[in-house]
């Protein structure tokens, strides 16, 4: 039985296979409409998330399966003090696969250690968010036609932004991927990403404070939101939240074939005027998220592709 806790749980070959299935789903979703008939997905969400949960539920419904679950800790037995270990043992009796989001780091690993069904980490605090990474990889691959030989700019909250950490972990496995890390000093990538992932793999990267300076050289610009819920201190949040705002004027500095990605939801870090720009790919990205989750559910449930 396999779980997905970290983007590195899958080899590059496995990710390539997954992206190929997702690509095939995109071409004709109706062929996949019954491959998971009779299967159930449990969505165990201990903290609010609209799009990730709905994306998982949409994916399972598209495959012919059904869904059950909870969408906040208040409406689960966690409010009564039940441990994750006990909860997942019980959920294993009700469903065939589980997608879990929890505010604490390492929660999905704990669930996987006690689970009788595959566990998908749908975000564990500021730690990992591998299905967002799969979404990002599928989006980049579909738009640029490759995952190698890219200069990827990551902008905003690089400290607490788990999507950023997961994406860096996944992209360093492809040849000649360079990173430009754009953030205020307080929100730089954590030291373990810088040292153990980037430097240890001899990856070319630079850290900048200025978005304008970075834009001309990028193939991909990955924007992130400064998240209020990751701060202990409201003053720090207010001081840092408007650091980088992408506007049509800034987009003029970027290449014609650069694409802008964002894990969504956005607050104000991308001006709505940028939405009209053909390089704005963040809404397409949400659609790719459904396709890649469909492919993932099939892989973990060991469901074969339709003939």
């Amino acid at each position: 039985m396999r779980h997905l806790l970290n983007p590195l749980d899958f080899t590059v070959e496995e990710i390539d296979e997954l992206l190929a299935v997702a690509d095939d789903i995109e071409k004709d979703p109706s062929r996949y409409a019954h491959v998971c008939d009779g299967k159930k997905l449990a969505t165990c969400f201990y903290e609010p998330s609209t799009r990730t949960r709905l994306s998982f539920e949409s994916a399972m419904l598209n495959l012919g399966g059904s869904v059950l679950g909870f969408s906040s800790a208040d409406s689960s037995s966690a409010a009564k003090g039940e441990s994750i270990a006990d909860t997942i043992r019980v959920i294993s009796c009700y469903a065939d696969i589980c997608a879990m989001r929890h505010p604490k780091e390492g929660s999905a690993l704990v669930a996987s250690l006690h689970s009788g069904i595959p566990v998908i980490n749908a975000g564990d605090g500021g730690h990992q968010h591998p299905t967002q990474t799969l979404t990002d990889l599928l989006t980049i691959h579909s738009l640029k036609g490759r995952l190698d030989h890219l200069t990827v700019g990551l902008c905003g909250d690089l400290k607490f932004g788990r999507t950023v950490h997961s994406l860096i972990n996944a992209l360093v496995r492809y040849p000649d991927v360079k990173f430009v890390l754009i953030s205020p000093p307080e929100l730089r990538v954590p030291e373990y990403i810088r040292e153990d992932v980037l430097r240890a793999n001899h990856i070319e990267f630079k850290e900048l404070g200025n978005l304008d300076e970075a834009l001309p050289e990028l193939d991909i610009l990955y924007m992130t939101r400064v998240q209020r819920e990751r701060f202990f201190n409201e003053e720090d949040y207010i001081r840092l939240k408007d650091c980088y705002i992408l506007t049509p004027k800034k987009m003029k500095l970027a290449r014609e074939d650069m694409f802008v990605l964002h894990p969504l939801p956005r607050v104000n870090e991308i001006s709505v005027e940028v939405d009209k720009d053909p390089r704005a790919a963040y809404f397409k990205q949400a659609q790719y998220g459904v396709y890649v989750r469909m492919a993932l559910i099939m892989k973990l449930l060991e469901v074969k592709q339709p003939c």
């Binding site: 994750i84 604490k104 780091e105 390492g106 929660s107 153990d196």
Partner: protein, 153 residues
């Protein structure tokens, strides 16, 4: 090095050990921490702690003598605390074996993750597991949240 033939050379006369373990070259002042981490306070056997013994190699060092067999102590924990400690096995009042310690690949329930966002901060009865992430820098990371453990015990 503990002089077994002439214990008085060690500066303090502690009666010889017929069968047991001598932990030598402990950093001066650390012996009590080690005493508790190895759970020696819970054992029935005789234990002698020598603090600030003179050492040509270290200047000052601590030594612990434990009566009885090797099965009483967890060398993995000791390797994590300080892999420079020498473990001497004593039989018939002689050193019959010297064990060198290695940094353990994994340590369980020795140190606790300090990251307030880690699942270990709320989940009940979860073992504290750390793995050796970098042998050169002796870096351990929490198995759950991957946060580096800063500062030795």
């Amino acid at each position: 090095m503990l002089d077994q033939k002439n214990p008085s050379h060690n500066g303090l006369n502690i009666s010889g050990l017929n069968e047991g373990i001598v932990l030598d070259h402990i950093e001066a002042g650390k012996s009590l921490d080690i005493y508790y981490h190895l759970g020696l306070d819970k054992l029935e056997c005789q234990v002698a702690i020598i603090k600030n013994a003179r050492s040509s190699k270290m200047g000052r060092k601590d030594i612990i003598k434990i009566e009885g067999g090797l099965d009483k102590i967890d060398l993995k924990v000791l390797g994590y605390i300080d892999h420079n400690i020498t473990v001497n096995i004593i039989r018939d009042s002689k050193i019959v074996e010297k064990k060198s310690l290695k940094l353990p690949k994994k340590i369980t329930n020795v140190i606790h993750c300090k990251n307030p966002r880690c699942i270990t901060s709320i989940e009940q009865e979860l073992p504290d597991v750390f793995y050796l992430a970098d042998e050169k820098t002796e870096t351990y990371r929490c198995m759950y949240c991957e946060e580096k453990y800063s500062g030795k015990m």
